[in-house]
Assembly symmetry: C2
Homo-oligomer: 361 residues x 2
Amino acid sequence: MKKSSNTSAISQSNSIPASANVSNTSAEKIKSLRKKKQDHTEILKRLLQGNQTALGKAITLVESNTIKHQQQASAIIEGAIASSGKSIRIGITGVPGVGKSTFIEAFGTYLLSLGKKVAVLAVDPSSSISKGSILGDKTRMENLVKQEMAFIRPSPSGDSLGGVARKTRESIMLCEATGFDVILIETVGVGQSETTVHSMCDFFLLLKLAGAGDELQGIKRGIMEMADAIVINKADGENVKAANTAKLDFRRALHLYPPKESGWTPKVLLSSALYNTGIPEVWELIMSFEKNSKENGYFEENRKQQNKFWLLQSINEQLKQSFYQNPEIKVALEEQLQAIFDKKTSPFIAAQQLLEKYSKL
Amino acid sequence: MKKSSNTSAISQSNSIPASANVSNTSAEKIKSLRKKKQDHTEILKRLLQGNQTALGKAITLVESNTIKHQQQASAIIEGAIASSGKSIRIGITGVPGVGKSTFIEAFGTYLLSLGKKVAVLAVDPSSSISKGSILGDKTRMENLVKQEMAFIRPSPSGDSLGGVARKTRESIMLCEATGFDVILIETVGVGQSETTVHSMCDFFLLLKLAGAGDELQGIKRGIMEMADAIVINKADGENVKAANTAKLDFRRALHLYPPKESGWTPKVLLSSALYNTGIPEVWELIMSFEKNSKENGYFEENRKQQNKFWLLQSINEQLKQSFYQNPEIKVALEEQLQAIFDKKTSPFIAAQQLLEKYSKL
């Protein structure tokens, strides 16, 4: 197909009367399919050339729930995948109010000044309910949003964290194929979203406030163990003393955990996104992590394991979905649960009976 | 059926020649089935009367992998379930060398002195491989093993933690139906076994050594967060000072975690199983936990949730097993994994293709 021509063979022959065998609607349908095919081929081509508009369109297809869009998205991903993987993926989490947007604004702007191309994605499974997606209010990243080398995308909506995660994972690949060097994946930390983000990034950064001891208690189960670095934000003005105390507390707390597979010892840093201090140090730390983990082979191995994890995760999710969404199983499950609570059966016997029923459906 | 008669109708009519329609083998088969039926009915009856030999036989059926034994086990469990649930289930974990056996020996002996009936079970998924099951060497609990009111059972063997867990869960029910007041579930902490034990007990106890700071590092991910109490064992002689330091360290570390759903604040205690000190305090603590959690409704709710967890867990396990053990899927999965590593497909597209294949098998 000639690239200069945007009209298909079918539209060129439009003036010729359709034969008796081809109805007008069929012709339209074929034209539309050809157009779509051309569309996503074109999107892929421009995306691979570094075009951000094409990237935006591709992500929109990934985020769409219609089957047609999903098929187009899959085709784009398959074409983009060989060019993906060359970025460093950084997960960033912290409770609301910790200053994630301000930090990302300052951090992203610094990376741009180093000549990096920066993409910011978000995982917020609550956004589909509250419609109050993080990053939705782009004015919170006033500077970054204006920069040509930055790409900012709010959290996709989704019925489940699994759905949001899938979309974000595939968006990461697309951003990489478009040539972005640094992918920042922000999460507000609803439910399991931090674990999810952790399993799609190379480096996991926990933002904390320069508050005192009480702050420590707000840490969700398992989050601190996942962190490669804790950055105490808003370490400025009157907060400096408290921030230094917190730094020692966190360092001691991190010391309690077993060594990481990566061989990396998590660090605690101070920063003030407002006064723009401590930001280069965070990047230096990440660079040093990347160097170490590439040298000892952990970087590649971790990505391999993450890919495997996502494959198995998707399979398991869908196996469960088919079972639990079956209307007959739904009813039988409630009955068995009640029988367990009434001490009439054991969980294992109940499970066996449900699976037997399922296999006969 | 008359309880006094141990012979079936068939064996009584044995002297009468078999009719032409009933072959000798068929008659034997029927007799054998009747015998079995009587057997497990008898086991159940005696178990409910508090007979430990019957309990042992019932657990042997639960642990067996033959279908016939499994069916008998299910029948016994269904008959025993209404009488189960009246114990307190205490999970006990700690690294090898921490003195678990000595602690359980001292703790169990103390409970017996209070007139309690004590069962000790174990979850050790490694035992099927190493055959070196914990509790296997009963001489390690010399005193306890001699006591009439104590029942000690080594870890069942199993191909997977799931299998071991199922057997242990059902054994707990059987012990309770036999009248045991306190169930101690020991785990050596291989892989996920601590999480598994945590999800089948009311109270979770982490044994630690009276070592210094370095000891803290040996704590596996998530274990400290699950503990309702940390007992620093071997707090005697020259260790006393170090034990007190460790106590403060652990108390500080526990303070970092979010409050528990049970409303319970985990405590740190010192004990010496060797010198028999601190043992009554551990029991007092557990009694106070039981009182609190029964008053605020957590105790019952937690058991309900655990039952639900085990139901869903068994279902999910078996759904996965059917999928991953399918020979055609096995081959296709390897191919897709390779394609992902070779950057030819994404994990999600691969998952979709595998599920489509599976649904057509």
